[in-house]
């Protein structure tokens, strides 16, 4: 499992990516240290969510749509002084399932 790396811009813009740095520093490569006004941010692994989908009582995925779903929400990056690096972590929020359905492109009005 690899560590996911995002970047923070000179004015705190987040997330940003290698192409954004290269727009400002065309010779910079992703395997090089980031320019002094940019920050490298390590994205923490998403941990497994238990019971991600909730169904009506007595129902399962075989006979019902979910009522709600637990989803990952990113937090703003923070500096881990002990490890000497910027880190972005996650929290889990529960969202209700939408009722809307979507038609494929060729069937839309």
């Amino acid at each position: 499992m690899s560590v996911q790396i995002f970047y923070m811009g000179p004015d705190g813009e987040y997330p940003r990516f290698a192409g954004d740095i290269q727009e400002q520093y065309p010779d910079w490569k992703p395997d090089q240290p980031v320019p002094s006004d940019w920050r490298e941010v390590e994205v923490e692994d998403r941990f497994e969510i238990e019971g991600r989908l909730t169904y009506p009582e007595g129902k399962t995925h075989e006979d019902s749509s979910p009522l709600s779903e637990k989803v990952y929400v990113p937090l703003a990056p923070t500096f881990d002084a002990g490890a000497g690096k910027w880190v972005q972590s996650w929290v889990i929020e529960t969202v209700e399932w939408a009722e809307d359905t979507l038609l494929p492109p060729h069937e839309r009005p």
């Binding site: 690899s2 813009e13 990516f17 727009e23 998403r46 939408a98 494929p104 839309r108």
Partner: protein, 515 residues
Amino acid sequence: MPFGSFKVALLGSGGGGSVDPFVAWYAYDDAASVDTRAGSFKRFDDDDNFVLAGYTEKTNDNNWWMYFLKIDKEGEVLSTNTANIGNTSSGGQTQLIVYSDSTYGWWAGGNYINSSGYATMELTRWDDQLAVSDGDATSATYYHRGGYPFTSFNSHDYAVTSTGGLVVNMGTSNDPPRFLQQSYVYDSYANYRYEVSNQQFERTNSLNTLVRAAHGSYNNQCYGGGNTVYDTSDFLMSVYGQGSSGYNPYVSRCTDIMSVYGNGYKMSSSNGAYNCAGVTILGHQDSTDWYMQILDIGSNGYDTSILKMTDFPTTYGSNFTYAWKKAFRPSSTRTNYYPVWSSDPITDSSDNVYQLNTFYNATDSNKREMFLIKRNSNGTIQWVNQIKWNSTAGNNTNSFGYPVLQLNKAEDMVYLNCDTQTLYPQPGYRYRNLVFCLNADGSTSGNARFDDNWNFDIAEFTTYVDETSTWSDEGAGINLTVGFSSNSYSGNGSASPAAPGVNGNTYDEAKLAIS
């Protein structure tokens, strides 16, 4: 007039690259038939001849037929071919084409309605004369699903081949090409839901295996997003399936034997309640860079995102490495433009990227507008062209559907193919196949008005917003609600007789310079 008459109107002139910019339309028997739809568009050779493919309604038998038009770089029709599968009923409701090489010929993928009204997925192999009159199909085959949970098709089931749904992987020089065709299927047997079939074919037309994507919950839906080659052996497959806020894109990588690495990657957005209305992907055999384009209709507002990744990991739980992510919208007000169609993105030899996105404009009676976008290799927009219907004559247009982009060999002209429908002229609703030829430096600007008031404006567009996209992967194999799984296939057969090309058919055409 069963095959219509040929006509060309050339008014005015443009300037710029190796071809003067123009717009042209093509239709089968335009006086009577009202449906000539776009499906696929591909550069045919280094002389910048192109092949158009789609389906049309023949007025002499009311059936749907596939067609192929070969046009030159100026948009002039060189030859035509109209064909039907099986001589039993209609065929070719969605046409996609690929060309493998001179040994393996041209292939057309589409869906096929048999005499009982059931939709199946078909794949037709053509000789190298596909794009000339009376070209022959060397073989044709169709497939429908069998085995649990798909015992058979019934009158409520149908299959549609996705745009971007037919790709060829040439492999190494000693390997035959392999084809991957994606269709999405409405399945009334399995809880009335949509699911997606990715079928791999050998050059002999034999169907090897299938990877299907379906939602894990009852009555939830899954649509095809398209597929692409990734390297010399692997394919990428994409779908979008129902989630908590709406729809999420999913993408998976499969090996040449159609086993899936890990599981699918689910994409989600941190931009409030997200909702994907479409996804397209692009990869190349000679590079591990690949692209994903997402139409976002989330409650926080609408845009079209494009993400560039520098690899596709095969390790369970790994994440993508992003080169850049961008989100385009034509207005600072997030709900003014609603995205409805996109072509597959294309790249040139310098890794510049071209996108074509169609939107409804909510501030102008939901009329459709197209935006052609060029980005450099870092994702920064170089220019945007807006293409829309000029309604000064009181007309309106619908759709701008099934868009496809192609570059000429010199990469100084970009060709855009789509279809559109208007309420004018009589006899009313009418689809024609459109080709726009525009300067690849974004300099095309002007108007093209046909003598029946089909009327298009093309202009540079600068009042857009381009931000960092908020879509990101959740890692492979994490709590998927839509799964990709291998499955056996059955119930297939050869179409008999093989589809012959029909000679002597000409198409109505009109062409205008943009001036």
